[in-house]
């Protein structure tokens, strides 16, 4: 087993042999990521309607199901309808603070069990309980920290109260977001990722960022497209006109 010093030393010697031969450059980067991200935010405050149209188009192209709710109350009704249509029994959701919504009352009134892990619960027992409930739930409800129009992608940061598996284990995933989450392009996403790194307080403290572009899919059997191989078979995006006060990077 090589030590780090030996390993890197050898690479340094090889790199040295090519000195001056190549003049390539890495990608241009924002000098001040936080400011660049603020600029993106200001641009999107104007341009979100176009981004929303594009998001919807691209999201539907990858077999996503798009919903638009005028109010927060309407979101609960949409989620309830999705749950009923799929005869869902168990629903798992992000912590109400991370989601910006408390689905408990509406779902409870309809006789559905809701598991929403409080952000404070982190012990071994809580972890086991959460895993079991996520594995048996039919529907997972999350926020979306960003909705990327160019590709119809939902971007979710993991962290306290925002488990990774909510958008993975249940057969149906529903993501709820408002206009402030919209981004136009992958390039903007790059700026945002740079800014998240510079300011750790925005990272939501989790280890994982997922770009979700449509349902889980495979074409491994005779190139036949099949959905829901490991992750969700269906992905729904619920756009809310009323602001949703979820805890998000900004």
């Amino acid at each position: 087993m090589a030590t780090r010093a030996e390993f890197i030393g050898r690479i340094r010697r090889e790199v040295g042999k090519t000195a001056g031969l190549f003049t390539a450059r890495t990608a241009p980067r924002p000098a001040r990521p936080a400011e660049a991200a603020e600029l993106v935010k200001r641009q999107m405050a104007e341009r979100w309607p176009q981004a929303l149209d594009r998001f919807r188009e691209e999201f539907e192209r990858v077999a996503g199901v798009f919903h638009r709710a005028a109010t927060r109350d309407e979101v609960s009704a949409i989620i309830l309808a999705i749950a009923r249509e799929r005869s869902a029994r168990g629903v798992v959701a992000w912590d109400p603070a991370s989601l910006g919504l408390d689905l408990g009352p509406a779902l409870g009134a309809a006789g559905l069990s809701l598991e929403a892990m409080g952000a404070a619960e982190v012990g071994e027992a809580a972890r086991h309980r959460h895993r079991a409930s996520a594995a048996r739930s039919d529907l997972g409800v999350t926020g979306a920290d960003f909705a990327l129009a160019e590709t119809g992608t939902l971007i979710l940061l993991s962290g306290a109260g925002r488990p990774r598996s909510t958008s993975l284990l249940p057969a149906t995933h529903v993501a709820v977001f408002d206009r402030r989450r919209l981004l136009e392009s992958l390039e903007q996403a790059g700026v945002v990722l740079e800014a998240l790194h510079v300011d750790p307080s925005r990272s939501m403290s989790g280890a994982v960022i997922n770009f979700i572009t449509g349902p889980s899919r495979t074409a491994d059997i005779e190139l036949t497209l099949t959905r829901g191989v490991h992750g969700p078979k269906e992905v729904h995006a619920v756009f809310v006109d009323e602001p949703v006060s979820a805890e998000t990077p900004w």
Binding site: I11, E14, R164, E187, R217, H230
Partner: protein, 468 residues
């Protein structure tokens, strides 16, 4: 690849692929479909060409400071609570994983698709050590059940029929399942879901690793990469050292062209950015995160003739367009990495001796270079490899003699003119319709699989003299 298969010479491996009717049909359909999807995707994406240039430039610039970026990546992974392992070769990389399994009492490991782990024959090593490796990409799962190896970088089981797949998945389910992709996929979902929840270790490769943030990036369509990095208590990522990139700004450039090149998607269903083990406050994620950095002959190519092959993103686009791959498929190449880029990677990992035959398994048509998202000049390197194989006298003696003689003839105008006249005379008994279809003696080996154009009644040079 199994030793047994490698003992068969390449022409025989290729020959048996050519006789496999189903393989021929499946390869034709699959590669043609992928070509169309890729083309459509780039047609509607005018900025794609500039992004390809930029991506290539990033790879080149990164290699210029690879030592710096690897150090930065390692520092950041460790700061996040992960551990970094430096593996000179396949054996060291395997040993890292095996030792972890021994020390942590690992009985089962779930894997998401990783060419690096195929490259180091990790599954066989795990099995010998009493650890059950479970491939979870559907295609990889199928070929693991069949005890085979992937035949395409991104569609590992394109050589299997749904009937064969139904038999394999039915055997696990202990009930007969219909040969229907929907039914079989649902059954595999149930079978593998259990494994995800039981496994002690998750093993992945890395499509990219971002030095500045210590992030490992996994691109999958099925979501198995997410399962493997979220559910087991240990996550091990194994990556070639060339997969590191400097920053998130670089990452989005690659993301914009990777899936388009592979499957024609704008993005794959899941792009997962993983930073170390579970962080405080999280309910899920592994207790431990290990990153294995694998050299295996890569470093010596930073300043070597195969340098450009280090830019490869493993998208598979060059396989689909290659007239040789389209005929023989992945297995006939005999090593982990098939297709045009595979020949170069095999030479990098196993030395030029391993590709004495394979270096010629290309028509040098250049289609691979045209579709490569980072514009790797594969044909140029294949020609150089052929040269090297000849120089190092690895090629068979007879072949070297023929090429030496040919070289002399082509270098002298007088000898060339003479050979044309001689050829015209000698070909008489064999020529028909401007083609030579069957030649005697050792020349028969050429005409056994293809025609040779006959020497023209008047060669170009002869006509040129008159025209002037």
């Amino acid at each position: 690849m199994s030793e047994e298969l490698l003992r068969t010479p390449f022409p025989e491996r290729a020959g048996s692929a050519l006789r496999d009717r189903f393989l021929q049909e499946a390869l034709g359909i699959a590669t043609t479909k992928f070509i169309g999807l890729r083309r459509e995707s780039f047609d509607g994406f005018p900025e794609g060409e500039a992004l390809r240039d930029r991506a290539r430039s990033i790879k080149e610039a990164t290699l210029q400071k690879l030592d710096v970026y690897l150090g930065q990546l390692a520092d950041n992974v460790e700061a996040l609570g992960g551990r970094v392992h430096w593996a000179d070769g396949a054996e060291e990389a395997r040993e890292v994983v095996l030792k972890l399994c021994r020390d942590r009492g690992v009985r089962m490991a779930v894997k998401s698709k990783s060419m690096a782990t195929e490259e180091i024959d990790l599954n066989e090593a795990l099995e010998r050590a009493g650890v059950a490796p479970v491939e979870t990409d559907l295609g990889e799962y199928i070929i693991q059940l069949a005890h085979e190896r992937p035949s395409h970088i991104i569609a590992p089981a394109i050589h299997k029929t749904k009937g064969q797949i139904a038999d394999l998945i039915s055997a696990v389910a202990r009930e007969p399942l219909a040969a229907d992709p929907e039914v079989l996929t649902a059954a595999a979902r149930r079978q593998l879901r259990e494994k995800f929840l039981q496994a002690d270790m998750g093993i992945t490769g890395a499509n990219f690793a971002v030095a500045e943030t210590g992030t490992v990036v996994l691109v999958t369509n099925e979501g198995n990469g997410r399962m493997v990095t979220s559910l087991p208590r240990i996550h091990v990522a194994i990556m070639g050292i060339e997969k590191v990139i400097p920053s998130m700004s670089d990452l989005v450039v690659f993301l914009a062209i990777l899936a388009r090149s592979a499957t024609g998607q704008k993005l794959s269903s899941y792009t997962t950015l993983v930073r170390g083990p579970r962080q405080p406050g999280e309910l899920e994620g592994p207790d431990e995160f290990h990153l294995v950095l694998l050299d295996s002959g890569r470093a010596t190519q930073i300043a070597g003739p195969l340098r450009e092959a280090l830019y490869c993103l493993r998208c598979g686009a060059c396989l689909n367009v290659c007239p040789v791959y389209r005929q023989i498929g992945g297995h006939a190449y005999g090593y982990t990495y098939p297709g045009p880029i595979g020949i170069l990677l095999t030479a990098m990992l196993r030395g030029s001796r391993a590709v004495a035959d394979l270096a010629h398994a290309s028509s040098l048509c250049g289609a691979c270079k045209d579709v490569c998202p980072v514009r790797i000049d594969i044909p140029r390197m294949l020609i150089e490899l052929r040269e090297q194989v000849a120089r190092e006298e690895i090629a068979p003696r007879r072949e070297r003699l023929v090429f030496k003689a040919l070289g002399r003839v082509l270098a002298s105008p007088a000898a060339f003119a003479l050979s044309a006249r001689l050829g015209r005379l000698l070909q008489r008994p064999f020529a028909g319709g401007g083609r030579l279809r069957k030649l005697p003696l050792i020349f028969g080996r050429w005409t056994a699989s293809r025609d040779l154009p006959a020497v023209a009644a008047r060669t170009f040079r002869e006509r040129w003299k008159d025209l002037r």
